[in-house]
């Protein structure tokens, strides 16, 4: 791995507990991404590109991803976390986000991680819609390990879930002029977006995802996959089971893990106790870090 030299482009750096963190803006001047690269102080096993989720999930899972990035770097990985264009601190507008723009942003993140750290082996992580995006990206990198948290396997069900969350929120808010799911879907097309608890979902993104599934995006190239699902019971949702069974039947080594937590992705509420949130983070981070470690057991080698 390269020795990281100070770079004026990344004035925000920090070193602590054997991890160096470097924050800055990367990519084309016309559309820069906020990126956070964390590297171990010693040799690096590989690089991990963390693809965040979108909308309410982005905020909900943010801290978990900060902790995961840190843990991975402490375990010897160079990690890049970033914000897509149109989200967070990156340039661009949310209404312009499409599958193509998300893929391009992942490419930018990969290129920056490789250029900055010299890693030659890349793994991918993604949560929720970020898992869908990570899968489309990983498909371009032969054998790249892929760690998925609660992946969106069918974007049409993601939209339905979002609309349902809106309907449930409207119950609680006792909204006088409640719109039906059908009206919300029509409004999405008519006005170009629908508001889900303060997070607009834009029609451009939905249309770019239409008809796609995670399994198809991932393709049939061999790679190890970690599939972490979260829920009150250990039983996987049917849509997740279909994907893991399909990947296994195609010969991919799939490790399924469960974290007992009712995340309620579109919601923030008192019903989620602090200790439950912390436990979810600790379990998910440890499971993923351990799994990634088994894929790169030595410096410069992979299993």
């Amino acid at each position: 791995m390269k020795d990281l030299q100070p770079d004026d482009r990344f004035p925000a750096t920090r070193e602590e507990d054997g991890v160096r963190i470097e924050i800055g803006f990367v990519g084309e001047p016309s559309g820069r991404l906020l990126s956070c690269v964390s590297t171990p102080s010693g040799d690096t096993r590989a690089g991990v590109v963390m693809c965040p989720p979108l909308h309410a999930d982005f905020a909900k899972n943010y801290r978990n991803e900060v902790l995961l990035g840190w843990a991975l770097s402490q375990a010897g990985f160079a990690v890049i976390r970033f914000h897509y264009r149109g989200q967070g601190h990156s340039d661009g507008d949310a209404e312009d986000i499409t599958l193509d723009s998300l893929r391009a942003d992942v490419r930018t993140a990969v290129e920056h991680l490789v250029a900055r750290t010299g890693v030659s082996r890349i793994a991918f992580f993604g949560c929720r819609l970020g898992a869908f995006i990570a899968s489309t990206a990983a498909a371009l990198y032969e054998g790249a390990p892929l760690a998925l948290w609660e992946p969106v396997v069918d974007p049409s069900s993601y939209l339905r879930e979002a609309l349902r969350a809106r309907l449930i929120g409207d119950i609680k808010d006792d909204v006088a002029q409640r719109e039906s799911a059908q009206e919300l879907a029509l409004g999405l097309k008519r006005s170009g977006h629908v508001d889900i608890h303060g997070y607009p979902i834009h029609n451009k993104l939905i249309e770019s995802l239409q008809g796609r599934t995670l399994a198809e995006e991932l393709g049939d190239g061999w790679r190890p996959v970690m599939f972490l699902h979260m829920g009150r019971g250990e039983k996987m949702r049917a849509e997740h089971r279909t994907v893991t069974d399909g990947l296994t039947a195609a010969g991919l080594p799939v490790d399924v893990h469960h974290v007992s937590a009712d995340v309620g992705w579109w919601f923030r509420g008192a019903a989620q106790a602090r200790e439950q949130v912390d436990q979810l983070a600790a379990e998910a981070v440890a499971t993923t870090t351990n799994w990634m470690g088994t894929k790169y057991t030595e410096i410069g080698a992979s299993r």
């Binding site: 449930i168 119950i171 609680k172 006792d174 009150r232 009712d262 579109w266 919601f267 008192a270 019903a271």
Partner: protein, 78 residues
């Protein structure tokens, strides 16, 4: 009994004092159910009772009290 099952779920999973939860206690009005709790409750009803709560059934009248929720479930199995 359906009402008791619902009451138990709200008590145990949504951290509520079950002693106040009569069948007619106003769950929404008294903030026993916030939106996350509602979401979790709907998930519980669907998995526990094998029903699908349709989008058009997600209205306050069906979730105002334990009696309302039970009535919704009974209507779906009728």
């Amino acid at each position: 009994m359906i009402e008791n099952a619902i009451r138990q779920f709200i008590t145990e999973e949504l951290n509520t004092d079950g002693s106040i939860l009569s069948d007619d206690y106003p769950l929404l009005e008294r903030n026993v159910l916030d939106s996350l709790g509602l979401f979790q409750l709907v998930g519980y009803l669907e998995s526990e009772f094998g029903v699908e709560v349709q989008d058009e059934e997600l209205i306050p009248q069906h979730f105002g009290t334990i009696r309302d929720i039970a009535q919704l479930l009974r209507s779906k199995s009728a």
